[in-house]
């Protein structure tokens, strides 16, 4: 044990200076984390919001690039010209994605769901004369990491986009 003017104390100023430097670097990292979170790089926020659409404009998807595991994330699908056929919208979602996230809520509720080999087809009833509409999915990712989401119109074009799920 060191002695400073008769005071026994385990002081080490050289170490202390090092740890103060580390602390200040740490404060910088904390600042970056707060700024990144506000910007939406660590979860939903301005920089996270994105849209993807098919070339023909039949569907446009609004989603978040960055979401968090077990937190609800919204995916909004706007269906346009040619998406409503025979009074229904037949929207399919990749089965792998459906298995990895749990759909908590779908608005409007699908009239029926059909199971295909690699996809689930959600069938929504459309009002008479309707030409456009919006379907909202609330997904709660169960696992974290990079996900590729594929969805599209049954027998039509598809949209592929990526999402990163934070733990």
């Amino acid at each position: 044990m060191r002695r400073i003017n008769g005071l026994e104390v385990d002081q080490d100023l050289a170490f202390e200076r090092k740890s103060w430097t580390v602390q200040r670097v740490g404060w910088g990292v904390m600042t970056l984390a707060v700024v990144a979170a506000l910007a939406g790089l660590l979860g939903p926020g301005p920089a996270s919001r994105a849209t993807a659409s098919t070339p023909d404009g039949a569907i446009a998807v609004e989603y978040d690039r960055f979401v968090r595991a077990s937190a609800p994330a919204e995916i909004g699908v706007s269906v346009g010209r040619g998406a409503i056929q025979g009074g229904v919208v037949r929207l399919w979602v990749d089965r792998r994605y459906v298995a990895e996230v749990a759909f908590e809520r779908i608005v409007p509720e699908p009239a029926s769901v059909e199971v295909a080999r690699d996809r689930l087809v959600y069938v929504f009833a459309a009002a008479a004369g309707a030409t456009t509409g919006r379907i909202g999915f609330t997904a709660r990712p169960r696992t974290f990491g990079r996900k590729t989401v594929r969805l599209g119109l049954d027998g039509g074009s598809e949209v592929v986009f990526g999402q990163f799920v934070y733990p």
Partner: protein, 147 residues
């Protein structure tokens, strides 16, 4: 498996954050420090428990956290260098009656903080009655009066 991983991660994150913020940040010197501590506890609780509110999960989590604590204390005993980085070292703020301004600035302690400790623990009236003042590892200020 999930709860053990959650326990490990939350323990590590909290340990690093508390250390980065410095000795004084959560040393409960003010009422608000205490309030902040409660809020942090509330905020981490959800991440620790997740959706599993079972007895097994709670017990497993407590075991994980305590086990880590024991493990870390054993490691600290074995490697003194690790102990320094995890717990820090005390800093002398008043040496033989002399205020060490630069150190006080670095650890964010002012005369009022030292006086508070002097009033509280020794019933001292003035700063010049203090021979030594030390910021201990846990963030408390110890005062040694002149004899």
């Amino acid at each position: 498996m999930d709860s053990v991983v959650r326990g490990l991660l939350v323990y590590a994150v909290l340990l690093v954050l508390v250390r980065i913020c410095g000795k004084r940040t959560l040393s409960q010197t003010t009422t608000f420090d205490f309030v902040l501590l409660l809020i942090i506890a509330e905020a981490t609780q959800e991440a620790l428990i997740g959706a599993d509110g079972s007895m097994t999960n709670a017990a497993l989590l407590v075991v994980t956290l305590l086990w880590l604590d024991v493990l870390l204390s054993l490691a600290k005993q074995r490697f003194p260098n690790l102990e320094r980085w995890i717990d820090g070292l005390p800093v002398v703020l008043i040496e033989d009656g002399r205020l060490m301004r630069d150190r006080m600035d670095k650890v964010r302690v002012d005369e009022a903080d030292i006086l508070e400790a002097a009033h509280d623990k020794h019933g001292l009236e003035r700063l010049d009655q203090v021979k030594h003042a030390i910021l201990e590892r846990g963030g408390k200020i110890s005062v040694v009066p002149w004899r």
